[in-house]
């Protein structure tokens, strides 16, 4: 089967983001950008499915600026076979991305789309579920284990208080949680091969998708800072303060 893996270009998780002084957003100029970490897990899972002989071809897709080609190259270096860039410079909300991906799914016909459970920039955690809805497919979100079983996929999901297992008919959507796997480091030969793998570029208009944002950002601000409190010298002092000063125990 063919597997589609959408990947997003985001501010690297090691970067401490700063809110712009004018409150219009966060500073992203001259900041290191990387593939969304959960998307790396999604790519890794697709590559493992290919190594097991379950997947035949892996297509990585990124919706974003031209520079998102770098993230596609990373996916190709990890083992994806080819890339598609849906090039758009403005804001793309999850609903718009889901519509773009639906159009790509229509062209490519994958049996499985694996996405990261959320992007670490807007923290929406929505694109996978929205794509499933638009396609009328089943969804296995927050997956910590994925196994193909005949014409279905068995997904173990991270839920509050433990794990839940669902069986989802193919074609299906899976979103990757942290514990699904540990992504590999791209090897040098694979980085070299990735250079030669094709990346096709399309525009939202080519796919007939309206990506106008539904949300307008009125302001972005820093959350209130917590002040450091006092140091206590002993456990006895701590308990005394919690009992008599903070009155929480």
């Amino acid at each position: 089967m063919k597997v589609l893996v959408p990947v997003k270009r985001v501010v690297d998780y090691n970067v401490k983001v700063r809110v712009k002084a004018d409150g219009s957003g966060v500073e992203t100029a001259n900041v290191k950008m990387s593939m969304n970490p959960f998307d790396e897990i999604a790519v890794e899972e697709a590559v493992r499915l290919k190594e097991k002989g379950v997947a035949e071809e892996i297509v990585a897709v990124s919706c974003g600026p031209n520079a998102a080609q770098e993230q596609l190259r990373t996916a190709l270096a990890m083992g994806a076979d080819r890339g598609i860039l849906v090039e758009h410079d403005g804001v793309l909300e999850p609903l718009a991305v889901a519509k773009l991906l639906k159009a790509i799914v229509g062209r490519e016909g994958p049996a499985l789309v694996i996405l990261g459970k959320q992007a670490i920039d807007d923290d929406m955690s929505a694109t996978g579920q929205m794509l499933a809805a638009l396609l009328g497919w089943g969804q296995g979100t927050f997956a910590s284990r994925v196994e193909k079983e005949g014409d279905a996929i068995r997904v173990t999901r991270e839920v509050d208080g433990g794990l839940e297992t669902v069986s989802v008919k193919l074609p299906a959507i899976v979103t990757a949680d942290l514990r699904l796997n540990e992504p590999r480091y791209a090897s040098l030969p694979n980085i070299m091969k990735a250079r030669k793998k094709p990346i096709e570029t399309v525009k939202p208009a080519d796919l007939g998708v309206d990506v106008t944002p539904r949300l307008s950002v009125l302001k972005v601000e820093e959350p209130a800072k917590r002040q450091a409190g006092k140091k206590v010298g002993s456990v006895q002092e701590l308990v005394e303060k919690l009992r008599n000063e903070a009155k929480v125990i």
Binding site: S34, Q69, E70, R73, T74, A77, Y185, A186, S187, L188, P189, N190, I191, M192, A194, R195
Partner: protein, 394 residues
């Protein structure tokens, strides 16, 4: 963009991908790992194997033997990244030799030799040491004394080598030895032959040299007594070994320069981080110009050295003459690296002298690129003679 845009200092996306990937591998080997290696010694096998697994040892080997076919530019970026990750020279030296040292085999070896010798090195199954320097000749390489005598289909070798890194662990050796006595050779540069052969410990004695730093990567005296080398392990023509070995000299200078830049930047970034956090007299010490300015100066000198290094690498990869640039890069980078490490120790004050703050280790290691593979004085002499056209002084 104005003009013809022929000069481009930006890293390509591929270079960035390379740095990123190497950086991730190195991130698994933290400060504690290198501190322990420095205390206890022991080859950093784990890093060597992790890099081999990712195909990195073949960065500038040809593709038909399993390499990536990239240039010295990429190898230099890689070595800088390794050193700068915190691994310093302990990490860099562990693989330094393996990624470029076999260029003579790549260029002058037969197809059979390449297929036999290079893949095991790239895959990390074998490690090579580089046996050229001798105790009584120093940098006067043409005067090597180690003898390899032809007897039928083999050579028998007797002699000594010194400062042979990784000889404790290497499975293979690239050996330069005399096959024609110096007085019978037609030219000063002839009469030496190059071999790549098994490190046969039954005929080779290895004595480790206790040294100032980089305990993880051993340096040794090597005594060769009756080592037999089959003729098929000789690289290229008999008597031409010196010419072959010269091929690797400029790349080696470029790589060691990149390593020195990496080490220096590592030291500066540690010092800057410390200066930001360390509060004395009610303010971070980094607020004082006496702390900031020397670090800023170190950064500038390191960047200038880096640009010279990349210039030399680019010239080498473009097939241009690069001797002056490679030597200049090694000189500038080594001095800038040393100064940066020294400044990092001073910035830390007393803590800089404590091992657990790591910078004293960098300072000890920073002597390596200053001294090896060639002294700063010989580089100055080389530039004076070859670039400025001044009379030879030695």
């Amino acid at each position: 963009m104005k003009g013809d845009n022929v000069v481009d200092f930006a890293l390509t996306p591929q270079h960035e991908a390379l740095q990123e990937a190497i950086g991730r591998i190195c991130a698994d080997f933290g400060d504690e790992y290198w501190l322990m290696r420095d205390r206890q010694g022991g080859f950093p096998t784990e890093l060597h194997q992790a890099l081999a697994k990712g195909g990195w040892l073949g960065v500038c080997m040809p593709e038909d033997v399993g390499g990536a076919g990239l240039g010295i530019t990429e190898a230099a970026l890689m070595m800088q990244t390794i050193a700068q990750s915190g691994a310093g020279m302990s990490g860099a030296s562990a693989i330094h030799m393996n990624i470029f040292g076999l260029q003579p085999v790549v260029v002058f070896g037969t197809e059979e030799q390449k297929q036999r010798m290079l893949p095991p090195l790239i895959e990390g199954r074998e490690r090579a040491c580089f046996a050229v320097t001798e105790p009584n000749t120093g940098l006067d390489t043409t005067q090597l004394k180690t003898r390899a005598e032809r007897r039928g289909d083999r050579y028998v070798v007797h002699g000594q080598k010194v400062w042979i890194s990784t000889a404790q662990v290497a499975e293979k050796m690239l050996l330069l030895a005399r096959t024609t006595p110096a007085e019978q050779a037609r030219k000063r540069t002839e009469g030496l032959s190059l071999f790549y052969t098994n490190f046969d410990r039954s005929r080779i004695e290895v004595r480790e040299i206790e040294k100032m730093g980089r305990k993880a990567v051993d340096s040794n005296q090597v005594f060769i007594d009756g080592l037999e080398i089959p003729v098929e392990d000789r690289i290229g023509e008999e008597g031409q070994g010196f010419r072959y070995i010269l091929h690797g000299m400029n790349p080696e200078r470029i790589l060691i320069a990149a390593e020195a830049v990496g080490l220096g930047h590592l030291a500066v970034s540690r010092a800057a981080a410390y200066a930001k956090e360390r509060v004395v007299f009610g303010r971070p010490i980094g607020q004082n110009q006496a702390i900031q300015h020397p670090l800023a100066e170190c950064w500038m000198e390191l960047e200038a050295a880096r640009l010279m290094t990349m210039n030399a690498a680019w010239r080498y990869d473009s097939g241009l003459e690069c001797g002056a640039q490679a030597n200049a890069a090694k000189y500038l980078a080594a001095e800038a690296g040393f100064k940066a490490c020294q400044q990092a120790v001073m910035t830390h004050g007393g803590f800089g002298y404590a091992k657990e703050y790591h910078v004293e280790r960098y300072l000890r290691e920073s002597m390596i690129p200053r001294i090896a593979p060639i002294s700063p004085q010989l580089i100055l002499s080389f530039v004076a003679e070859r670039v400025l056209g001044l009379p030879k002084s030695y």
